[in-house]
Point group: C2
Amino acid sequence: MLSNPITPIAERPEPERIYLFVQHFGRRLRDIDARAGLTPARFSALASLRIHGSRNIGELAADERVRPPSMTRLVRDMARDGLLVRTPDPADGRGVLIELTPTATALFDAVRAEKIALVADFLRTLDEPARAAITLAFAALDDLAEPPEPPP
Amino acid sequence: MLSNPITPIAERPEPERIYLFVQHFGRRLRDIDARAGLTPARFSALASLRIHGSRNIGELAADERVRPPSMTRLVRDMARDGLLVRTPDPADGRGVLIELTPTATALFDAVRAEKIALVADFLRTLDEPARAAITLAFAALDDLAEPPEPPP
DNA sequence: TCGATTTCCTTAGCACTACTAACTATACTA
DNA sequence: TAGTATAGTTAGTAGTGCTAAGGAAATCGA
């Protein structure tokens, strides 16, 4: 049974503090995207293309766990804004190949670097035992971030 | 300089693995909201009201870092859906007091419990040193989630 | 090989949530 | 009390998710 009103964050059980950290820090990360003029969906699509180099609509939609029509529109709007280029897939007449423009690559790299710096600068303010604990903790937590297998 | 293509996640620097964990696990948390029929904005508004008991539009907007018109509409739609109740503020003729309905309280508590359980169940799969590292790590990381002071 | 099916993507339309600009009504203050 | 500040709303725009429906290319099976 959960009490009412709810306890201050610092007194809540550890599992809750973990998910609250994720929610709060996630908002801070989205603020970085927003200041760079990127919506979360756009940043995420850029990341997928930055890793894979080239992607078609269906792959991007699967990466982002979004339906194809949503990705069609996102790609159309981002192409309109000069962030990516669509070319017909020479190997499949139904498909499209999507690639980043140099502008988008530079923008993504800058935002990524800012996020890394935000965390890295913070880590430098901590003492060595805390940093060691963080290294161990995130190694252990990796599997928590993975979504369960989607049904076939 | 960032290389192209980008390195696999497991080989990236620790700061990046932390923000990627937040992005990935955040998505999993939003999936829980979605399965309960809650959008992220609604879950967040519910959380604010669950903690504070009663809130007006401006306070809720500030809590959620959203502009008042966005909160006006969110509250209107959530009231329409039976999640909260608006009453005129007896102390300020311009204001409105917003409170959760019992339905919304129960729904929020269930979603919160599911998120806690997701993390708690995972933590139980870890050995004791890993759990200890996680406790230390999140104590150290609390300040990273806090946004910097907003300008006056 | 030809018809049926599957796959890839798109169009159309709805829902939700963010924004700014502009407005009303109430409260405060000098 | 006149002027200003504050609380909230309305109106209009943009972005992102969805489903339904459909065209076109690829593939499969008889």
